[in-house]
């Protein structure tokens, strides 16, 4: 009994921190609740999306269908002293669009990077539909970070169980379809004013794809870039 009395201090010593932790969790749960399931799904899809450096696709816009390959990373651009982060998109008809942090630009037919002009609205939409992972990720992340409504709808895309994640407003809406289990991106569609387009996506690609795109942009291939 005397021994028990000696350890009487243990009960409040343990109860007070236990109460502090429990009250802390309860307060936060009551104030903020759980994150919406749709936003959590969008965040998981974003995590999967930005794992890729290469995105291949078949995009349809204004009745025209073209194959696209986007590669992204750090590029040595002529006229710039340091490596620039960006994304290059090569279309199956040889057209080239890119963005190295100054907006989407279109390369002239026979020129390399440096011989370009700002892309028009339709080209910018084609660039988005090429689904460059970081570029597309930025669009989704901006909505998620600012707490804007994100909607996720279960559906079947090309015979696969998928979730369609919709962001944007009435003015412009992006829908990314991802597989239900792995959250791998499989399709992208965009509604923007009079433009409406979609793209079937195949994420990832080997060194050959990277070499092909860099070669088309007249950019030398460093060995460390040859992975996807």
């Amino acid at each position: 009994m005397r021994a028990l009395r000696r350890f009487r201090w243990v009960l409040p010593a343990l109860a007070i921190p236990a109460c502090a932790a429990a009250a802390g969790v309860a307060l936060q749960a009551a104030a903020f609740g759980r994150a919406p399931q749709d936003s959590l799904l969008a965040a998981q899809a974003l995590r999967e999306l930005v794992r890729y450096r290469v995105m291949r696709g078949t995009e349809s816009l204004a009745g025209r269908s073209l194959e696209t390959t986007c590669i992204q990373g750090w590029f040595k651009i002529p006229g710039h002293g340091r490596l620039l982060r960006g994304a290059l998109v090569l279309f199956s008809n040889g057209e080239r669009l890119y963005d190295i942090g100054h907006g989407v630009r279109r390369l002239r037919r026979n020129g390399g990077v440096g011989h370009s002009r700002p892309a028009g609205r339709q080209d910018r939409i084609r660039f988005i539909l090429a689904a460059c992972p970081h570029y597309l990720g930025d669009q989704f992340a901006r909505n998620l970070v600012r707490g804007r409504a994100v909607e996720a709808v279960d559906r079947r895309t090309d015979g696969t169980d998928a979730a369609a994640i919709v962001v944007g407003s009435r003015r412009g809406q992006l829908t990314l379809d991802v597989t239900s289990v792995t959250h791998k991106p499989i399709a992208l569609s965009l509604e923007y004013g009079r433009f409406s387009g979609s793209s079937d996506l195949v994420p990832g690609g080997g060194g050959a794809e990277i070499w092909r795109v860099r070669h088309a942009f007249d950019l030398p291939l460093a060995p460390r870039h040859a992975h996807a």
Binding site: A13, I16, P17, A21, Q28
Partner: protein, 397 residues
Amino acid sequence: MSAMHSTSPLLLGMRMLERAVAVETPGRPAVAEWLAVRREIVVWWAASRVVVFAGAFALHVTRVPHGYFGPAIFRPVFGPLEAWDGIWYRLIATHGYLLVPGRQSDPAFFPLYPLLLKLVGATGLPVVAAGLLLSNVLFLGALLAFDALSTELFDPALARRATLLLAVFPTTYVCSMIYPESLVLLAYSLTGLFAIRGRWGACAVTAAVAALARPEGILLALPILGCLVAQWRSLEPERRGRGVGALLAGPAAAVSFPLYLGWALHDPLAWSKAQTAWGRSFRVDGIYHAFTGITRQLATQGWPYRDFLACVVTLGLLALARRAGIPWMWIALGVATVLVPLGSGSFESDARFALPALPVYWTLAWLSRRRSAFRAVVAISTVLLALEVLTLPLVFP
């Protein structure tokens, strides 16, 4: 008949009123006296806040300098006071938490301040106004609590000087922004006060508040330990238990944040992942990297000087703290408050993080014993306070 009178609602009401007045009458002079003794603090708080708000208003009028936010920061009347992390705290109060992979997102911010923001906002005030009101009122509370704590530790003159110096301290401009620093200052001061007075239950609550407001709140375990060791022999077993409970309350409350994130986001590590996206991943050799990297940063940028110099001055004052008679555990708290954030490998924002290093203000008050020295420190602090506000569009606190 008399029994009927004694139970009539009117009479009961009269009696209750009489009792209320009877209780209030001796209280009024006590409150008036309490306020009169502290009027100086309220005046200094108001004057220093006038400097901060006038600076913010001057930016609104002049619309320079343009910085990270461009002209957008000047649109609201006190725009710079709502900016930087204030935007994130408002987002949390409005939408709750969400970890956005690989991006700067809100789980990097501890929950208590946005929780209070949400509560005050629930009264119908716009979130921005709620934040500005909350921070400034909490800062007044922090000054009053700090004065009480200082009076427990030092002579009243030094205690008051320290409080007034804190009121105009250059980095206290963040106490008028939508930032949790004024809440942290209040919780630090109250925790110290309750620990010294042996009120362990209240001490546990305020330590938990500090740890839910900012992760550095767990460092309060140092002064609590100091007070507990000093009182241990004179305490009954149950009070010893409460003391140990108060010691552990801060870390336990801090743990509740990852527990909540595990429940809300299915990711208990969301805080550290978000910290990494903000460039604040903590490493064992972080402090070493902060000091080795600072020369390179200073050679290329101007702003790291602010945080580096604040860190050096703070550490210098803490080195003198023992001579001012400050207890060791409080000095340890000050040193840890300054050095722990450097574990991220950077001096970024260390001036702000060092704000709750309370021994700094006691040392400064001890050094400015002569009236001329005190005036000089106040003048320099006030000028720096105004400059900090005026440069807010250019650099984050």
